[in-house]
Symmetry: C2
Subunit: 301 residues, 2 copies
């Protein structure tokens, strides 16, 4: 029997568990998201981890993400911004689970200058992990974006997350794609058309352009011979382009951007940022999440 | 047997037929929208008008709206902006239907300064009807808004519609209400809470504020004790407020606004306009549609 620890990222849509042995990820198991299991989280956790438990209990379990939400397994608090890694780690909820010390990391909360409060659960682990992996990020000001269903735009100053804003662009795009009269198609089959639409969406984007440029996804098909694939790309480009222009304008921040997350989506944000004259770097979200949970090795199981 | 004419507004979601006898609306019949019947429009028309046909054929039939779309009954052209009432009326498609002269009014098309084309079918009838009813609207510049699923913002100059822009705010709100994680409720049950949310949405609205203020519908429930009813109102206020601010800014138009349409929705736009220091007047959409089809009497059947 080998000693091992379990670390995991349990978000709304999926559970990813990593088995760390001798400082190396030795295995990975995926399970259902918190959104699907809610209060039945413990049962889903047992089911996902069972093959490992049969080989003996882990030394510790550390989880981050929506698992700590009110409707998750056990509620973890929100640490208030500005927050550094130490304050955030201290806010975790820790308990004994079948004789194993289990920690569920805290989320983060902040309030914007416009009086709008905001929260995150899981992304803070990736941000603190990115800082742990790259000491240069721990100094000076950095604008970090985690693209996803609910994008998180975060301002980091000398290693502290000072403010952030959630922008539900991914969810908005999915609604327009799946349920609206603006897009007759839910999946692009012609990548060239889709890319042309994306580029044209970026062109039409800007501060305050969203309301008045949305209907073009339909009107350009009726009047300018554009295709359904084009319309899908256009909606994506317009939404991302408006998000980038509006949030940057509001943050008054012109620094280059660090993108953390899925490669394909990060590439789209990089293109949108570039169209507005902003440079960016992209790094892998899984590696950052694991670093935030204290693991700095290779992520591939 | 009394001589009569039939005029009707056949949009995406409903058919409204009016029987005009001796210059008075004597009866009204409602039928399914073009969105529901499409190419089977003629059958649905026959079914709706049947009780009148049994009493004898009308002298004429005049229809406006999506009935003239490519997927409607018979396609009617788009008149190009700038267009006055005479040019628009001339563009109608006219044919003999069972011995009765039938006209389907044209739509309107335009292209914005930003290169985005746009179209309307049905709203132009209401705008020209409003001008026919009030000669003062036929002179000078006027900003006319027809709130609905796809709002039409139209600039009228000396009786001509010179430009317009469609903003799908009604559709966007319905998507967020019915399918998003931002609103846990699809119908408000506490009108006071909903109204408070609407007012707070208007406060947070402005040019370029949509992306970054949307998530507050959820975050304010989690962190500031707001209710699900509040969130519904907030989303409505934010969307309408951003639309009003952004379209007016883009049109560079600071004139008062004429609202044509449904009373409740017009009142919401009036409130949003007032919050931004703009006056407005609201008039009934049905009366305008009938005036655009040549009938100026009482609309109540």
């Amino acid at each position: 029997m080998t000693d091992y620890a379990v670390i995991g990222d349990w978000g709304t849509s999926r559970l990813r568990l990593f088995r760390v042995e001798n400082g190396v990820v030795a295995a990975r198991r995926d399970g259902p998201g918190i959104g699907a299991v809610g209060r039945a989280a413990e049962g889903a956790f047992v089911e996902t981890i069972a093959p490992w438990l049969e080989q003996g209990a882990p030394e510790s379990i550390t989880l981050c993400g929506m698992v700590g939400a009110r409707d998750g397994w056990v509620e973890a608090p929100y640490a208030d911004c500005p927050a550094d890694a130490a304050a955030w780690r201290k806010a975790a909820v820790r308990f004994d689970w079948r004789g194993v010390p289990l920690a569920i990391m805290a989320g983060l909360a902040c309030e914007g200058a416009d009086g709008i409060p905001d929260v995150m659960r899981g992304e803070e682990t990736q941000i603190f992990g990115a800082i742990d992996r790259d000491p240069a990020l721990g100094q000076g000001r950095h604008l970090i974006v985690l693209p996803g269903t609910h994008n998180k735009w975060s301002l980091v100053e000398d290693g502290r997350i000072v403010a952030f804003r959630t922008v539900p662009t991914g969810e908005l795009f999915a609604l327009l794609r799946d349920h609206s009269t603006l897009s007759p198609k839910v999946e692009a089959t012609d990548a060239t058309e889709e890319a042309a639409g994306f580029a044209e969406g970026l062109e039409k984007a800007g501060v305050g352009k969203l309301s008045q440029s949305l209907f073009a996804a339909r009107a350009m098909r009726l009047r300018a011979g554009r295709s359904a694939d084009w319309a899908l790309g256009y909606l994506s480009g317009l939404l991302i382009g408006c998000e980038v222009a509006e949030v940057r304008s509001s943050l008054g921040e012109d620094a280059d951007v660090l993108l953390i997350g899925d490669k394909r989506l990060s590439a789209r944000y990089a293109q949108a940022l570039e169209a507005q004259g902003v440079g960016s770097t992209a790094i892998d979200g899984d590696a950052c999440a694991l670093a935030g949970l204290g693991y700095f090795g290779d992520v591939t199981a």
